[in-house]
Symmetry: C2
Subunit: 274 residues, 2 copies
């Protein structure tokens, strides 16, 4: 057990209860004593940025992160430019949310050239990092599971994400460690230690066997095989003291009544993670 034992660090990523608006998610967190909430851009746009900030502040719920920027590789320079422009807008939104960490899902292949796509990611982050730093927005590169390398993120390992982040000041560009994406990696504990102060976020769910679905197959903590408490202790030992955020894409869980999800995730967090 640790300082996480009481649930103070538990966070809801709002796509775990995708039908809720920002306001409903904030109210739900307040009802269940959940002090952190990760927002998504489209939900914030519906609610309005200022209203989102006010609602969360009034309820005493901290905004843990904004999902998400990224999507950098593209076949043409014009399309890559459009995506960088969209990321600037995401940075502006994160700044307006009080300097929320912007999570970067770096984007898929554009064709077959994976090294080329990775260079596009690196070039885009190099262009965006100063812009984000000026606005007090930390950028968190999230490596996705290698099964998403073709269609979602050519950044597929924590080592790679950290290597990109290390080109920038440690308070400006870091990584997001999502247990579902990294648990399988034989280097994950060494890489968590290496990332150290660059760990800007920690997301949890579980890996169910057999995997029910590539995209919507994440499990509730305790229903799968991930050593969640071990990973939580590792990020803590690396110096991370921020929210522990539940992000579950799963059609069954996403369809449950929101209050049931919050009650269940809190119980499972205390049993399997804290």
């Amino acid at each position: 057990m640790s300082s996480a034992a009481g649930g103070e660090r538990l966070s809801l990523n709002q796509m775990t209860i995708p039908r809720w608006t920002v306001r409903e998610a904030v109210d739900g967190c307040a009802r269940h004593g959940i002090r952190h909430l990760g927002l998504w851009r489209e939900k914030v746009a519906e609610c309005g940025i200022d209203a989102s900030v006010r609602t969360a502040r009034d309820a005493g719920v901290a905004i843990s992160c904004l999902c998400r920027g990224g999507g950098f590789p593209a076949a043409t320079a014009a399309e890559r430019r459009a995506r960088i422009d969209d990321n600037r807008q995401a940075i502006d939104e994160a700044a307006a949310l009080g300097g929320a960490t912007l999570v970067l899902v770096c984007g898929p292949l554009a064709g077959r050239d994976i090294d080329g796509a990775r260079r596009m990611v690196e070039d885009a982050i190099a262009e965006l990092a100063p812009y984000a730093a000026e606005r007090g927005v930390p950028l968190a590169i999230e490596p996705l599971h290698p099964m998403f390398a073709a269609d979602r993120s050519v950044v597929a390992t924590l080592a790679h994400a950290t290597a990109i982040a290390e080109r920038f000041p440690a308070d400006q560009v870091g990584v997001l460690v999502d247990a579902y994406h990294v648990w399988w990696d034989p280097t994950v504990y060494a890489e968590i230690a290496r990332a150290g102060p660059r760990i800007f976020g920690f997301h949890i769910s579980d890996w169910i066997v057999p995997l029910p679905d590539v995209l919507f197959g994440r499990g509730m903590m305790g229903d799968g095989v991930i050593e969640l408490r071990r990973l939580r202790r590792a990020v803590d030992a690396a110096g991370y003291a921020g929210p522990v955020e539940v992000e579950i894409f799963n059609r069954t869980i996403n369809g449950m009544p929101g209050d049931d999800v919050l009650a269940l995730m809190k119980e499972r967090y205390l049993t399997h993670v804290a």
Copy 2:
């Protein structure tokens, strides 16, 4: 182009045409000028080992590998012992097939302890390596894609497979590089160079977007995003000069008439790999 240009290195893994017996697969290869064939234990058992050897030899088809050993982690010592015994038998079979390379798919988690499962793999290989060496059977550790880490192989990267192999003489324990399992890895080209003379096999298929199925979603070469020629050149540059084997688990392809599969894979091999 290279020495592979003429198709001399093309190999059929027999589970690409799963309904064929060993005899039918040998005959098919002979009809299509395919000089190498990877066998599976259950198919060899149906045909008989001696008959399999004779049939292949008479047709001028070389046996590229035997699939497969492995499956080492288990909850009890008795079960682990039973699996090692089964692997000894697989080694005996590979020896009887003329010293065929035995492919090791190392096995899934037994519970949640992934490091423990990995130690079981390492211990089992350490026990089996001398037995295999005495019988002239090379052991090829095949890292599977990380999406199989929970249910098929806790060895999920080429780096990990090579690190295990490096504890043994280079002609006794090596790795099998399957493009489908390793293409996403940012270290794959460095790791292929490192594995060098320990590359005991090279399998090809393709990664289709979107992935139609985790287990049966492999594509025919050219239908996906893997840089197959680049990978083939990399294993060649590392010193590999053996068969280039088509192993496709895909319900559509597996259900096609075998001769159509052979014609298609030969064409695609020449266009996308050789």
